[in-house]
């Protein structure tokens, strides 16, 4: 079935739909740059809202994690609004640099879930262990869209430059937060949880409202974080978790407390959060599991009392 959904060479201006969920928060710049350099339009789905969660929940397997449901909701909202919906498969960047198996499966999950629609999906495959690095994957994707190898490679290189630049600026801005006055709370969460407007963002917004400085742990010098994580937990193999653990290790002395924020039921987090709690004793940690409830009242109570505890420790309550 997927075979028929593969792309055909077209020269007219194509529109790529990008779900605003999961790895969008990691690859936003790379994707947008790549497609715009090739002259394609991008449509990004709306920020997560109640309707998206509802339709994603209806489409997804009940036991799947909240982020899968949100993702499928975004995919569904794009169906019929673009030529292709982009869903990469990202397996690993090398040994002990894996993604959660979810990212190996996502493309086929979406194709199987929405197989009765005529929507075409676009994909690329990063699997360094199997000799598919990102550059190769992007070239193949470009060719599938009807561009030449050279056009695709140039677009990738250009897009990658933009990504590196953007990461650098982002990192610089984030690092300056550690020097700010006030209670600094490290938000240890995948970007697709922390940045999601419906589930994670209300948490950081509320922490700001309480007068604290929430800082995203995942915005970090990635290479350095990987090195650090190997020291803290040698067999930890999920790239995104390693960046978080490395970031904690780097910043632990500059923060007052940590909020571990996880979407129910996240596979890697179920173990990594436990390891973090056992390895970084001494720093106050609040562990939050998010589900699709829209009331944040319970959460707010917990966040408030956590901030009170931090202030109490600092003698500023």
């Amino acid at each position: 079935m997927q075979k028929n959904k593969g792309a055909e060479p077209v020269k007219k201006k194509i529109t790529i739909g990008i779900p605003r969920a999961m790895l969008y928060y990691r690859y936003e710049v790379l994707w947008k740059n790549f497609f715009s350099i090739l002259g394609a339009d991008c449509v990004i789905s709306e920020p997560t809202n109640k309707e998206i969660i509802k339709s994603g929940t209806a489409a997804a397997i009940d036991e799947a994690c909240l982020c899968t449901k949100i993702y499928l909701g975004h995919v569904k909202s794009l169906i019929g609004k673009c030529d292709y919906i982009l869903i990469p498969r990202i397996s690993n960047f090398g040994i002990k640099r894996n993604m959660c198996t979810k990212f190996e499966a996502l493309y086929d999950i979406a194709c199987n879930t929405f197989r009765k629609t005529s929507q075409k999906f676009l994909t690329y495959n990063v699997d360094v262990i199997e000799d598919c690095p990102e550059e190769k994957a992007f070239i193949e994707m470009g060719i599938e869209l009807g561009f030449s190898k050279k056009e695709a490679l140039n677009a990738y290189k250009e897009a990658k430059k933009g990504e590196t630049e953007s990461l650098k600026n982002h990192l610089k801005a984030n690092e300056s937060l550690y020097k700010k006055n006030g209670l600094k709370i490290l938000i240890v969460a995948h970007s697709y949880v922390a940045m999601d407007s419906y589930i994670g963002k209300p948490v950081t917004d509320f922490l700001k409202k309480l007068g604290t400085v929430p800082i995203m742990a995942d915005v970090v010098d990635r290479k350095d974080a990987l090195k650090r994580s190997a020291k803290v937990s040698p067999t930890l193999k999920w790239e995104l978790s390693r960046e978080l653990v490395g970031s904690i290790d780097e910043h632990i002395d500059k923060i007052d407390g940590m909020v571990l924020m996880s979407a129910f039921p996240c596979g890697p987090d179920s173990m990594v959060d436990e390891m973090i709690i056992r390895k970084f004793r001494g720093k106050p940690i609040l562990n939050i599991t998010l589900d699709d409830q829209d009331g944040t009242a319970g959460l707010e109570t917990r966040l408030e009392s956590f901030v009170d505890i931090l202030r109490f420790k600092g003698g500023t309550l």
Partner: protein, 322 residues
């Protein structure tokens, strides 16, 4: 003498019984609370059925039991057919509604869906993990809201703006509910929201990947709740059949199965006067420490179950010590 078949469905909450003739006509029926005592309630049930039953014309030649205490009560009444409640319900419903395509069922602890084609169940699913959205969940939420669960349906229908409630799992649903109450949502909106949550939880769990075709029959204890029925109607966009005897469907189905089987054993109402005792013993022969349940009739062991291996096997006929 004409043949008749007895079916008993002993659930965790209620005990149901029917006696039917060869043409599946109901000759006697009853519905009482189990009250945590399946043997006692089964005896009581038999007493009520005996009063309605015409012993001059009919003779009960086969007996079936179903429900969570089917083994226990089966041992007590000497059942010729002991069947799980899913099959019993499917048989009962397809007998009454030969055209049915989908059976939705929400009971005290379980929820299930059965898909039917040409009168035969072709696919089914049952709730996998938690009890969110089942009868016991609704009862406990009713208690929290200070209303009787029986009133739920009528109250729900008054609502025009059902509150959205997360019902993915009991723990999340409860904490969400508490906040909704605290935030001052009107009771009828919360109750209507709960009914909708039960339905969406059901469709997202047991109903996932299942093609729900009409005619749809809704049964089980929760089908008495018109709020939930209305929510199903809205979600599925088709008519929902709720049989007035829906609560008897399991007993009815197992009576039919008992009748269909070739096993025959005349049922004698005198079991009402016998003394039955159950005893839990812990095997203790390995760290599994299985809880073995033994049933004694007038002091003699007639059945036992619960052991995971042969080590705990107990001989039938053993006398009850003491």
């Amino acid at each position: 003498m004409k043949e008749a078949y007895l079916g008993i469905d002993i659930g965790s909450i209620s005990t149901k019984g029917v006696i039917i003739d060869e043409d599946n006509n109901i000759l006697a029926s009853s519905y009482i609370w189990t009250e945590g005592n399946p043997l006692g309630s089964a005896k009581k049930l038999l007493g009520i059925l005996e009063e309605q039953f015409d012993k001059e014309t009919y003779q009960i030649v086969a007996t079936g039991t179903t429900g969570s205490a089917r083994n226990l009560v089966g041992a007590m009444v000497g059942a010729t057919m002991v069947k799980n409640e899913i099959t019993a319900h499917a048989i009962g419903t397809t007998t009454l509604y030969p055209d049915v395509r989908t059976i939705l069922e929400i009971g005290g602890q379980d929820s299930k869906i059965i898909l039917v084609e040409n009168g035969v169940a072709i696919d089914y699913a049952m709730n996998t993990l938690c009890a969110a959205g089942t009868g016991s969940f609704l009862s406990s939420q009713a208690k929290r809201l200070g209303v009787e669960v029986e009133e739920f349906g009528d109250i729900a229908l008054k609502s025009t703006h059902p509150t959205q409630i997360a019902a993915r799992c009991t723990v999340f649903a409860e904490s969400d509910l508490v906040h909704k109450i605290q935030m001052g949502h009107p009771k009828e909106d919360i109750i209507a929201g709960l009914c909708k949550a039960v339905v969406s939880n059901y469709l997202n769990n047991v109903g996932k990947g299942k093609k729900i075709l009409s005619p749809v029959v809704f049964q089980g204890g929760v089908s008495k709740n018109i709020g939930v029925t209305a929510a199903f109607k809205e979600a599925l966009g088709c008519d929902i059949i709720v049989d007035e005897n829906g609560h008897l469907m399991g007993a009815f189905g197992v009576a039919i199965l008992a009748g269909r089987s070739s096993k025959r054993k005349v049922f004698d109402f005198s079991v009402e006067d016998m003394e039955f005792k159950t005893r839990d013993t812990n095997c203790g022969r390995c760290p599994n420490n299985c809880e073995i349940i033994c049933v004694y009739r007038d002091g003699v062991l007639i059945d036992s179950w619960g052991n995971r291996c042969d080590r705990g096997a107990i001989k039938i006929g053993t006398k009850l010590a003491n």
